[in-house]
Amino acid sequence: MTLFSECKESAFIAWTALRANKLRAGLTTLGIVIGIVSVTLMGTAITGLNDAFRKSVGNIGADTLFIQRFSWMTSETDWRLSRNRKELTLQNVRDLDRLVTLCSAVSVDSGGNGTVSFGRRQARGVYVAGNDENSLTVRGLSLSQGRWLTAGDVQSGRPVCVLGSYLADRFFPGREAIGGKVKLNDMRLEVVGVLEKQGSAFGNDLDNQIVIPITRFSQDFSRWPDLTITAKVRDLSQVDDAREELRGIMRKLRRVPPDFPDDFAINSQEAIVTFFNAVGGTIAAVGLFISGLSLFVGGIGIMNIMFVSVAERTKEIGIRKAIGAKRRTILVQFLVEAATITLGAGILGILVAWPLTLVVDKFLAASMPWWLVAVALLVSVLTGVVSGFLPAWRAARMDPVDALRAD
């Protein structure tokens, strides 16, 4: 007897057996349904989180390097060694821009929070960016109106600003924003440009920002600003070379003696990705383990009901054996029955999880890709086979004489 015709016959038996015990099969299924729903939702949330992260990181771009006082991945001990590092200076930025060859642009960036007002309208907690003329390209922004900061604005620290789209809409609804005079804290600024709508990244609303020349920023907004020098690498394949070049130049500019470690850090997207993968992997593993527990409980339910099913059908097993069913045939029959229950439960679970995913998606990016559906179905079949094995094995090993005697 071939395995295929065995499975076909077993599927038929399973179907009739399940139809004969609808309520029982349904209740047993419930455990697996819940298990599959929770595992699927967990998987959905994890992939959603991953996607959201990738998108945020994608905004930074793999070709962007950040020169800062501190590394993004500092531990407690590193911090104690590095907290006395000198600040980066605007002069560093200018020198770097002049000396570097592997980067297309170098810009400066510093940020803080302030209150912006126009007439009687006021916006608190606005992100205030101190930028220079290169920041538009380096930060990957684009304008919807007006112009970006010019080299002249930056050199002479002119009182001009570029508004995020949210602020522009709020202060100048249906009106021309260019030429408007807004106030940042006590600083009067003329609007010269408006940014295109950006969305958010890392929880920052990029549309709720105001950009001013870095010179004005360090003069009137923040006395000792923490500068970030952002460099756009010319060629993506030369990121590592560019990093080395920047490092060499910075060491020279900051006069670091040859045997001393860097007194600055070059950060990149790669570092966040590495960090995220480590943390995200742990979160995913723990989450899947916890939701897997409910699947495990469901599996125990299946095992239980299969034991009952085998005990109830002892006579049937006896008849089948008398007629010529081998151990394997009986084993396959009950495994297929268990797998049929759990596969049905898996399908039901996905049908329940799908609309839930759409609900979750309203609060947190969530998606149910096809591979997750396939994995969920595979897992449910596997659960059936694993938890059905012991009962099926007991059935397969029954003595035909004893089994026939049962009623």
Binding site: T16, A20, I323, R327
Partner: protein, 245 residues
């Protein structure tokens, strides 16, 4: 070559601290085409002998050759194959699968034999027609009378064309009239050359056979030829007419 050769077959069961000697050494030869009744009161060991003859159980010691093959010490799976090929069972309580229709019940041995579905359908239909149930193929056991159920069981026993039909109290759950019908069926099969072994404790049933073996206390007490076997009463719907081919 005889169909069955048994030499000094014993079977012991261990029940707790007690050992039960169900069969104490049975020697027996059965030729092809015989119609045999095995008789004995309950506890005599006749059921044990039947289980051994039917390859449902293995002997504690002794020799059992079926159709030229020593089956005394075969494992579970090999015995299943022998049962499938060589033996057709007819049980007292019919032992049909309750959720399957007649056709599927009769097909079952062929499924385990690995026949392609078209072929096994054809054979099962023929077997059912031969026992006069051509019009009951899609009825489930609970939609059939006792006699009809037993006829489905006979069809299932015969569908694989086995060497032996082994019937365990085949009339025990039937009224005397339908019982006679089944016995008439056996007679017709026997006349066609099938080997039939009926295990029973009813003298009347045993008298249909041409050889009667009496078991007592795990030993053969008597093994004699029945000089004038009783013919089954003929009924309009029963009897030989049902076994057409």
């Amino acid at each position: 070559m005889p169909l069955i050769q048994i030499h000094d077959l014993t079977r012991r069961y261990v029940m707790g601290t007690e050992t039960v000697h169900a069969l104490r050494g049975v020697t027996l030869t059965i030729e092809r085409g015989e119609y045999i009744a095995i008789m004995g009161p309950s506890g005599s060991g006749k059921s044990t002998l039947m289980n051994l003859l039917g390859c449902l159980d293995s002997p504690t010691s002794g020799y059992y050759e079926l159709n030229g093959v020593n089956v005394a010490h075969m494992d579970d799976n090999d015995l299943a194959e022998v049962r499938n090929r060589e033996i057709g069972f007819v049980f007292q309580s019919f032992n049909l699968l309750a959720r399957s229709d007649s056709l599927h019940n009769v097909e079952l041995p062929l499924i385990y034999a690995g026949l392609p579905s078209a072929e096994r359908r054809e054979q099962a239909v023929r077997a059912l027609t031969n026992v006069g149930l051509g019009d009951r193929m899609h009825h489930k056991p609970n939609e059939l009378s006792g006699g009809q159920r037993q006829r489905v069981a006979v069809a299932r026993a015969l569908v694989n064309d086995p060497s032996i039909v082994l019937a365990d109290e085949p009339t025990g759950n039937l009224d005397s009239r339908t019982g006679e019908e089944i016995l008439g069926l056996f007679e017709a099969l026997s006349r066609k050359g099938n080997t039939i072994i009926v295990v029973t404790h009813e003298e009347e049933v045993a008298q249909h056979a041409r050889r009667i073996i009496r078991i007592r206390d795990g030993l053969i007490a008597a093994d004699e030829v029945n000089p004038n076997p009783r013919a089954a009463m003929k009924f309009a719907a029963g009897g030989t007419s049902m076994v057409a081919a």
